[in-house]
């Protein structure tokens, strides 16, 4: 990735995480780690967001919510699975109410493991996601021209 042509806005949703990754996502956006250096702003509106940060695994109750947020986001969009629960369901993989990682519900672009995920890993994942976002938007442009 050379440079980011966009300031990516992120939306965060807590699948069924223990909160640890959620507060780390928020801490990353706060002055201590300052992900806003990369133009990242946390938004509550899926329609404004480019990057979807999901923490925690999916279960019967929230799988619809995760899919709904993903569907409301406009293209191009990137999904980052934050924390090991979002990647593979981690320590809760054999709980009766856990279906699995977020990739059971929506396509995931970047996997960022950790329990709890470290802010440095979130920044790394977001920067990777910005690169993917650029590629996706170029592909979208090319498809439009081709059509």
């Amino acid at each position: 990735m050379g440079y980011a042509s966009k300031s990516p806005w992120v939306i965060h949703y807590d699948g069924s995480s223990c909160n640890g990754c959620d507060i780390e996502v928020l801490a990353t956006l706060c002055p201590g780690f300052d992900a806003e250096r990369f133009g990242v702003i946390n938004t509550g509106n899926p329609k404004h967001a480019d990057i979807f940060l999901v923490t925690g695994s999916v279960n019967e109750q929230n799988i619809g919510v995760v899919q709904e947020i993903y569907n409301q986001m406009v293209e191009p969009k990137v999904v980052v699975a934050c924390g090991i629960c979002a990647c593979t369901a981690g320590i809760f993989h054999d709980c009766y109410n856990v279906i699995g990682g977020v990739d059971k519900a929506i396509p995931v672009d970047v996997y960022a493991p950790g329990c709890a995920i470290r802010p440095e890993a979130i920044i790394d994942a977001v920067v990777q996601a910005v690169g993917i976002l650029d590629e996706k938007s170029k592909a979208l442009e090319a498809a439009k021209k081709g059509a």
């Binding site: 965060h12 949703y13 807590d14 699948g15 069924s16 995480s17 223990c18 909160n19 640890g20 990754c21 959620d22 507060i23 780390e24 928020l26 801490a27 706060c30 002055p31 201590g32 938004t43 509550g44 509106n45 899926p46 925690g56 695994s57 279960n59 109750q61 929230n62 919510v65 947020i69 320590i91 809760f92 054999d94 709980c95 009766y96 109410n97 856990v98 329990c115 709890a116 470290r118 802010p119």
Partner: protein, 362 residues
């Protein structure tokens, strides 16, 4: 009065870091009733005691909630120790309590930030979280983790804190105090903050008692209930402990109680560090809990009283583990406070109970 309308609130909402769904029945702009729906984070981890032995489960217990992580590992360990009749060394008791109080400091500062976010004071939110990073640095230096520490084991703790680190902790906490005083000033004296919090979500002492409210939420209505005042473990060694209460009963009172509790916790930590005994930090634990043996334990989490129950079955796996968390009790108080409030105050009221949905649903 206008026609009743139902407005869905959550599970995905900018003010909530966690999913909670409320059906708000409103007439005009006034909430008539709030019907909560939970279950978005339910994992069913209590059942994992059947497949993880009592030593392994401590890592699961810690992941009940990422904010009160240390408290849950401590509460679980104490319950199992009571179940098996294990007496832990006094130094381990002190170390646990010091980490637990540090967790309270970080949790309350985190909450103050989220509350500022709820009433739209974004820069105050950022200041709180910047301050909180300094507490997390203490955790990282003493345990290696920022959120999940994994330092408690059945029988004690796995890491010691040496004298140099204690001096550093006291230095950091003293440094936090002056910056914290400025933040508190904004929370407790700023006119725009008081306009948003004074008289909002009022709950009387009688209601607080009837709804069995716990933690700072109950103490803000004047209910002087704090498990720490029972003097269990290292809390019994403190020279004096008085629960902090307020008579306001509104959002301002809850903010005031938590703001003062941070300073109280810092005092507790300093007193414990001054009097920490030397010695071992853990005792070896052998054997398994007896079949049918039962133990229960209460602990004051940052959000209030948390109750733990465990039953053994003669093997290294527990028969049953049950945890009753503070937020699950306080939800009744929250819906009571929401009834009759303005729609614009809903965020603030939900936030002031300091909801921890991960704890509640497990």
């Amino acid at each position: 009065m206008g026609k009743a309308t139902v407005i869905p609130f959550g599970p995905q909402h900018p003010v909530l870091p966690e999913p909670l769904h409320l059906d708000l029945v409103v007439e005009d702009e006034v909430v008539v009733e709030a019907i909560p729906q939970i279950g978005f984070i339910h994992r069913g981890l209590e059942k994992l005691v059947e497949t993880r032995d009592y030593n392994q489960f401590i890592y699961v217990a810690e992941r009940i909630c990422g904010i009160c992580a240390f408290g849950h590992s401590m509460g679980y360990a104490q319950t199992v120790e009571e179940l098996m009749g294990v007496e832990i060394p006094p130094r381990a008791e002190y170390l646990r309590t010091i980490w637990h109080e540090l967790s309270r400091v970080h949790s309350h500062i985190l909450w103050l930030g989220l509350a500022a976010d709820a009433f739209g004071f974004e820069s105050l939110f950022m200041h709180c979280w910047r301050l909180r990073e300094r507490v997390l640095n203490i955790f990282e230096k003493t345990t290696g983790g920022r959120v999940i520490f994994s330092v408690v084991c059945v029988g004690g703790v796995v890491r010691d804190i040496d004298a140099a680190q204690f001096r550093e902790i006291i230095g950091t906490l003293e440094g936090i105090k002056s910056d914290y005083a400025k933040i508190c000033n904004a929370f407790l004296k700023d006119t725009s903050v008081r306009n948003r919090t004074d008289g909002v979500g009022y709950i009387s002492l009688e209601d607080a008692r009837a709804l069995s409210m716990v933690g700072p939420f109950g103490r803000a209505s004047g209910l002087p209930y704090d498990v720490r005042s029972l003097g269990m473990g290292a809390y019994g060694k403190l020279s004096d402990f008085q629960p902090i209460t307020s008579t306001a009963g509104d959002c301002y009172g809850r903010m005031e109680v938590r703001a003062k509790e941070v300073l109280q916790s810092i005092d507790i930590i300093e007193e414990l560090i001054a009097g920490i005994p030397a010695g071992d930090i853990a005792v070896p634990v052998k054997g398994s809990p007896a079949a049918g043996a039962e133990a229960s334990m209460v602990l004051e989490q940052p959000r209030g009283e948390c109750y733990y129950y465990a039953r053994g079955n003669g093997s290294k796996y527990l028969e049953r583990m049950r945890i009753r968390t503070p937020t699950s009790i306080n939800i009744a108080g929250m819906t009571t406070a929401l009834a009759g409030c303005d729609l614009a105050d809903v965020n603030m009221i939900i936030l002031t109970i300091d909801p921890c949905i991960s704890c509640t649903e497990r």
